[in-house]
Amino acid sequence: MTTTAPGFAEGTGWQGIVGDWSADKQAFGVPWGKAMMWIFLLSDTFIFSCFLTSYMKVRVSTTIPWPNPSEVFALTIGGQHLPLILIAIMTFVLISSSGTMAMAVNMGYRRDKKKTVALMLATAAFGAMFVGMQAFEWTKLIEEGVRPWGNPMGAPQFGACFFMITGFHGLHVSGGVIFLIVVANRVRTGFYDRKGNYDMVEITGLYWHFVDLVWVFIFAFFYLW
């Protein structure tokens, strides 16, 4: 499924790389927006990696034991004490949103406006649900006394790490929800028909999958570890 745009070399494998980088018009044979989004996601990867790495460093270096995430994030529903249940639900919500997003991109290829819009808005709805649940998590922990400078459950650095990492991630999700709604609206009004391509749907998809990807790492390192 490689695209052939004018002005760059053909060839696959290592020869393809040499051809791409030495081409005279463009390096990658993909639409500009897509390449730019990938580069942005690369930079964002580094940012989140800095956060997670510093979290690791902080957690390794505390003299007081780190709060047990299983316990901190447990909920009692209907008398049953369920560890990490809200986080599990949040993970499923985000994966569902990735699924609807992938289908939206598919529908975008087929120029099926109605389905693309519906699926993008479904993705946005899942995203909004996720942010709502994260906000609930925040209020619950703040009520229990978790602050960036201390908490009653263990190492004082826990709060700072938690709020910083989940805060930035939640911000990215929220931005993504707005992004999705704006692009879905543009699809609906035929903006991309006039433009000639539905690339933006795929680019939005890339961003959204990145958001899910970051959650996979946060989930594994912060909540499970």
């Binding site: 990867t45 990696s49 800095c50 460093k57 997003m101 990145f210 990807l213």
Partner: protein, 97 residues
Amino acid sequence: MYLWIWLLLFVLSTFSYLVDFFQFEGYLRWFLILLFMFLKAGFIIAIFMHMAWERLALRTAILVPPLALLVLIGLMWIEGDYTEVTRFLFFGLPSSG
């Protein structure tokens, strides 16, 4: 095809959750957490984000730089360990074992 990967992601997430539910400990816990995490990440990047079908130039430009992060992680691990030991020594705290 997306649906299969989607289903697979749900399954892997359930496994991840079960690691905590069944209270695995020690190296097994870490190994399973990392395994499921990388599997999920791999599938999301390769299939959902279409990377498997992109040009090799783009793939290497995006996927190779994050490998440098392994160096950072390694260095910070050593740093964190050193900080902890120094804190115990300097503050004269009892060792948590």
